[in-house]
Amino acid sequence: MRTLITLLLTLTISTTTLAQDVLPKMQIETLKGANINLEDISSNDQLVVVSLWATWCVPCKNELDAINDVYDDWVEETNVKLYAVSVDDSRTVKRVKPLVSGKGWEFDILLDTNSDLKRKLNAPTIPLTLLVKNNKILYRHSGYTPGSEDELYEKIKEFSK
């Protein structure tokens, strides 16, 4: 146990100099079945929001519903792009397409069916929201409370300049 504590302490120190500040290099499937490189989505200074969600996650759906209501304005004013990455496993992944259509969400949907991206981002819980530009993670927030999309938009405006 003591060695474990030492280990955790060492880690805490080492974290001060390191950060999970880039998106992992990996291929990820789109809802249409194509594979894209994750690092391409934010290339050429394109600011993107990457949001990890699932069809069974209520706060995730609340967040994406709330963003969807104002998404047109966000795009118009900051040219931001949102990728909603579903971490639904094969039990619920078939629900993604009808749910997205039924809700009329307008953003791009990616599928992380065996949690490869979620694992690489070390995200034990969803929703997880990232702001990314040129593959660099600029802002990270987990959880959703009503209204926190406004805070996210402040960050988007800050980083879109």
Binding site: S90, N114, T145, P146
Partner: protein, 558 residues
Amino acid sequence: MNRYKLIAALLCTPLIVFSQEDDKKDYGKLSGGIESNSQYYVDDSKTGDFEEDDPFRSNNYLRLNYDYKNWFAHIQVESYEPNAILNFYPKYKGTDVGTFAVGYKSSKFEATLGHFYEQFGSGLILRSWEDRQLGINNSIRGANVKYRPTNALEFSALYGRQRDGFEVSDGSIYGFNAEIGLSSLFKLETTGLDLGLSYVGRDEDLDISNPNFESLTNAFSARIDFTEGNLYSSIEYVKKGEDVYSELGNIIEDRYFDGSAWLFNFGYAKSGLGIDATFRRMENMAFFSERDESANVFNQNYLNFIPALTKQHDYGLTNIFVYQSQPRLTFNPIFKSGEIGGQVDIFYNIKKGTTLGGKYGTKLAFNYATWSGLKGNFNINDRTYEDTEFFGFGEKYFEEFSLDIKKKWSPKWSSIVSIVNTFYNARFVEDRIGEVNATALVGEVTRKLGNGKSVRAEVSHLFSDDETSERAKNWAGGTLEYNFSSRLSVFATDIWNYGNPDEDRQIHYYTFGGSFTKGATRVMASYGRQRGGLVCVGGICRFVPENTGFSLSLSTSF
């Protein structure tokens, strides 16, 4: 314990390395995450004393990833000290390395040595995965190689043994998979067509002299995915070869059965409307990496992923009667050879500006699920059964209708109403007596208060005719949540079995607590009394006994 000193030393290396950042040399990238879930169990004057050892229990995970150009490595250390939280798989005990791997990955080629997670198709034939809430980590330890000659083709081959606690289970696993993008190969413009073929073998030699016994059990799968415009469909078939029958964990040396599964999915999606229907038939489809483990109640040693295909509900009272899939063949205590059924989901958005849609639109989600046992003629004494009809629906195990209505009334107010009507056949799902009809009604409202503050209130009621002592008859519930900002929230929730005919069982299961989030760090603390029952994540459930106490969860990543 030297292992940890080594890891600690390794962790210090980047400190030195990164202190010379000016050199702009690429020393690779280290990242990782920590998760800790602890419980302190206390005696409860209403529900009884805590009678197990170790009232303080803690599950801890440390994962480190290292990436250097195309190379990658990871190690995950797990610590269950002084013990794992209640009713975890007993082999998760102490502190040790849980998983590790090194590998190489380029766009065409990928190889992993060590523990890996893999899924063929929907997982009906093979899936290795991790869920820390359920205490499942069935990654395979061995080698996994993938080759993608073009965008339309992917071939994988794997060999290894499945993780079992901090060890591996007895059977050797062989797997081959091919994904073939037919639409790219034939340059179809508007139609999507993909073909998948898999083989999984499990080789476990047992000391059985019966000539029918073969150590290697083979399974084959074929699947096709199709999309055209707004329509999509997929079909998957798995055949599992003949294998020795095992009953309540004992191998019956002279009984051999094969298994099969069909999974059919059809959907239609356009803006404002989505429909999805799934049919699944499974006969003797539980596939274990070690035959001895076929009776384990901790969901360990499964090679394939066969969760209940029902809707996962969001509230305390809608999660009392949760279906669990019934893939197994058993003659004892009751005959079951598998399950058949399906579910339909409809998502619909009532447009803005209509009478029902109002100013912001109204979102509807409907689900219907029905599951039955396979029909069959069986002989319990001989342990034989006659193959069933393809569409033979036997005893009904579970049926459910549910409807969620989500409505935003103004920029500040929104609400959700949810109705769930369930038939639950406890005799077949839980191997105990009783059939249950239950209806749950839930209403919740959220009010935004500005500056990130908001409040959410939820009330619920469950009408139930269940007679099982610890959950009999009606329940009422409520939740109040206050968000001070996007970082800090507090909540209090209670479900109350007020209708229980036994007055001593009219218990409040309450919890109150809070959570704090900043960047990648999240802390949650709560105190409460938990109902004994199933904790389900994604259709897989873990039984948790009734308990009272404090819980603390921490997670961070770096």
